[in-house]
Symmetry: C2
């Protein structure tokens, strides 16, 4: 298997394989926040997020959501289908937190009546600005039917995973997704699903079980990530 790296992001690397349609997605131990301003390493994070993402992608595939996931091949790597990534960050929200509190003036913790899907432009140099649909179209990022499909899939991800997290004692407050287009122009879920890219609160105590622990220095990040993995029944072998 070739190992040429074609992309390195803040939390993952992508490497070529012998199959041009397949990539190796490697989860790093790095954590970043505030558009990369805050940064640290956490031994075991890559392994944990690979395990949690594998679990979530398998649940989503079983529910009929097309994902790039092929298989987990070792502690920190999964094989994925190569996609033409859409330069959007898609955020689904069940509870007001983070930027939605600032945008609306609603208190953190307010329940959103109907889950909402938000769209941000993936541009670090612009600080990932919030977009309305009109901006997605004027930037020629997606056609209306593709954006509609993407939103439907984002809501289906929520409808699939929210009850699974709830049964594991966690509220899925919000999460970020990234999608790509496959060779047929179909919208497919890419990237990852982990406590790096979601807000998870303990169902009873509302204790934060996600990257906000790092953002706000609330405790031991890996202790929390291991707890999420354990609750989901996917704690990596140690």
């Amino acid at each position: 298997m070739r190992n040429e790296q074609i992309y390195e992001g803040k939390a993952k690397k992508l490497l070529l394989t012998d199959d041009k349609n397949v990539l190796l997605q490697r989860f790093k131990d790095s954590a970043t926040a505030f558009n990369g301003v805050k940064k640290a390493e956490f031994a075991g994070k890559g392994e944990t997020n690979n395990a949690i993402s594998t679990f979530c992608f398998q649940k989503l595939e079983a529910a009929g959501v097309p994902t790039h996931f092929i298989e987990r091949v070792n502690d920190r790597d999964m094989l994925i289908k190569r996609l033409d990534m859409i330069p959007l960050e898609i955020v689904v929200r069940n509870i007001v937190a983070g930027s939605l509190a600032k945008r609306t003036g609603l208190d953190e913790g307010t329940v959103v009546k109907e889950p909402i899907v938000e769209t941000y432009l993936k541009r670090d140099d612009l600080n990932d600005p919030h977009l309305a649909d009109v901006h997605v179209f004027m930037l020629d990022i997606l056609r209306p039917d593709q954006l509609e499909r993407l939103k439907q899939l984002a809501l289906k991800v929520n409808a699939t995973l929210d009850p699974i997290f709830e049964r594991a004692g966690m509220k899925l407050v919000d999460f970020k997704l990234e999608f790509g287009l496959d060779a047929d122009g179909q919208v497919v879920l890419g990237d990852e699903f982990s406590p790096d890219t979601s807000r998870l609160w303990d169902l009873e105590t509302r204790r934060k079980l996600d990257k906000d622990v790092f953002r706000a220095d609330l405790g031991d990040l890996m202790e929390v990530y291991h707890e999420v993995a354990a609750r989901l029944g996917v704690l990596p072998q140690t």
Copy 2:
């Protein structure tokens, strides 16, 4: 006529009249920018904006856009229908400028293929955040049919005024509107239409003929506002 003031904004006051369904809208000489951080007085601005707004509202009414305008009663006052104001700032854009350049990374001056309508929450304390439709609904500001009607009216304002400004040698780059609901729950255009609330560029030279002259200290604001009024043929009597 009673004169009790019921509202004072950055550029206008609203006063009661003997008719509870009618208000007096008084244009002030104040100019503010950057959410009130920059502020100055310009003798004659109220009078000029009253004249330009009167002209625009008359053109819009003639084109079938319902507005709150009743009549201009003196230099700085117009009578308006009392509306239940919708707490949104609606921005229509024909050319990339201001926050749209920051949001998209497109250069100022880029022509927008189809005019777009943007929505901002009118909340000074939150810095008037950008909203997508989902936020308008989750905040219970408007029903979907009302928002759709509001956007149609905003585009009709653009389709009506853009050629009028063009014939007067100006490009209508973008503008901000505020709407209200009348007693029947119908969406009606309120507020004002002036160089305070629009970007106007000279058609040939692209010289700025609007409040950006104040924002960026580009010259004599009243000279520019008088020029806009003169080009439209509504220069107030002096």
